[in-house]
Subunit: 191 residues, 4 copies
DNA sequence: AATGAATGAGGTTTCATTCAT
DNA sequence: TATGAATGAAACCTCATTCAT
């Protein structure tokens, strides 16, 4: 009966929010956004449907939160805004680490790829995606410029595309796709 | 005795089926499968909802038909079963032609990519997808074997992944993505 | 190209009508009225949906026709209006013949029983059913009156009910229900 | 933490479920299963369509629930598994009580008879029906065996059929059918 | 903060019936 | 007479969201 402190409440809130997001991420990634009902999320998380609406205003906003949270987590690992330039070794390191992260957090990436190709979902987050992606693209452009490439923008977009292709194939067929070897092949292109 | 000849009926059927499929393809590709209702397809095509069910047993089967029809169309262009082996020049030609086709038939590919990453939709067509994809993979494996590569399977999967990555990025951002240059860069890797 | 005579047309009409009714009877009896579609009847009969509407104005009217036709067929066997009175031997004979007919034309009776218990279908044919049933009831009432029974109406309704009960159980479980013995037991009650 | 106690929820659920089942029973019995829409049930019960699906997974399952619930209610009155044997007086008592129940709960029986004769509905519940019916049949068989009848099984099936016949005729024409007298006539056969 | 009963809009699907040919 | 493509009303069902408690 003792009233909880403001901080205790805050902790509960954070915990519950995380629980909901984790559950939703797994389900969205594995079953698909449209094939996952709020009810299913609630049941899987062991909470009530209503509670989800205490933390998220809608299913759509829950999805957005997941996407942005995924981006944030990613950004924490690879902050493209540190000093602005990277060396060749750093690029290799970044690529390897990225794909390591991909492997560890496959759900996020499943969701990410699934979402990116879903037209109407894409529209929802389009603007923010570009906001997030731009600094990384710029980082690459700068790198290739520094490397003396003729068309750094082209190089950057090519690398991004290739990276996503490898990621996508791994996500689609994680059991057979030779991820590590492909990554090394990719890195080898940028010696 | 029959008021229209068998052939007349056949023509009507072919025409209507095509109309429905074309309409559905555009809508599925641009709005997403789940965000396109049968009613919307019917209205767009200028027909009744019921008629769609004269031609397809369900929305799902309509989607399947679209996917397989897309595959078939693709397969008509690039039959991997011709003689079984391709030369370097043929590979280059194939890659260029494929991406030309990608550009022309963007809707199909939007659908294809969207589908591949949608877990529950993928399940629907998984088996067939592999049936279709296998000969192409084999073609590439054989090519790289002939080229004396150490790990032809790896090479084949790498190329597929890279190709899909480029395709995906083009589809996602057709206005800005430098498709032709990327394709040439890709081809340059296989000189 | 030779024009058919009026009579030939009439023959065709009769033939087709019979075909439709026979098909519908089988399907209605075995699958249920509501579970049988006009399309299914047409396909089973090897004709077109439209043709059915040349002979019957609606599915409901087709059902009515079947019911009345069943009654008529039945009435041809057992005309209750002959001389108005029957002897004990005639009653026994009638009962045995009725159940023989039941066995032979199970479909009609399946339909009949199914229909009688379907409220809204019953409403459709209620009036006619009574018209048909009344003479038979009267025949029985007269018989029991002649036999000196205290309450002939009660006797008549009892016998009808018992007869229908046996019929119903036979129809529901034709493989196990001991029809002949039950009929003999029934007849034994009216020695 | 929960705003209503578990018990409160349970009460609400029981009440609503009963409301839905009562409403559906009346409508199914009087209008027929196929002629009663979920919407009609909802409107009659003064609730939303959706709510019905909180309690029953489908219209079919609602029907099943009704049938089994009817059986259960019936079984509570006449448990055939008590001691296994009944005396003549008990048989008379049972028959009288059964038909009293029939009169009181005509809806259930209307449904029951309607269902038994509807081919595809029967299939749904066939197995369970036999499970329910078997003990009663056995009770009768045992009774007639004890009474020294030559063919107890025949006697049991005959009595069941006759009973159903009387029930059916009463249900079909409750205003005119002389139920009590018929029941007494029936009982008189088993002195 | 938390529950889950309740809603209702909207989706897919069925099918009796029409009608141009 | 005969066809079957086409319609559209109405059915079943789902599910995001609300809200009293």
């Amino acid at each position: 009966m003792s009233p909880r402190t403001e901080q205790q409440y805050e902790e509960i809130r954070e915990e519950k929010k995380k629980l909901i997001m984790d559950t939703a991420l797994q389900l969205f990634a594995n079953e698909g956004y449209h094939n996952t009902s709020i009810d299913q999320i609630a049941r899987t998380a062991g909470i009530s449907k209503g509670l989800i609406y205490n933390y998220f205003t809608s299913k759509e906003q829950l999805l957005q939160s997941l996407i942005f949270s995924g981006f944030d987590e990613f950004a924490q690992f690879f902050d493209p805004n540190r000093d602005g330039v990277i060396e060749k070794e750093e690029l290799h390191y970044l690529l390897r680490e990225m794909f390591k992260l991909l492997k560890e957090k496959m759900s996020v990436w499943k969701l990410y790829f699934g979402i990116m190709l879903q037209p109407q979902v894409m529209k929802m987050v389009e603007k923010e995606v570009y906001q997030y992606a731009l600094p990384y693209l710029k980082l690459l452009v700068d790198y290739f410029k520094k490397e003396g490439k003729e068309n750094p923008y082209l190089e950057a977009r090519f690398l991004s595309a290739v990276g996503d292709g490898i990621g996508m194939h791994y996500i689609t067929d994680p059991d057979n796709f030779p991820l590590e070897e492909c990554v090394e092949k990719l890195i080898a292109l940028y010696q």
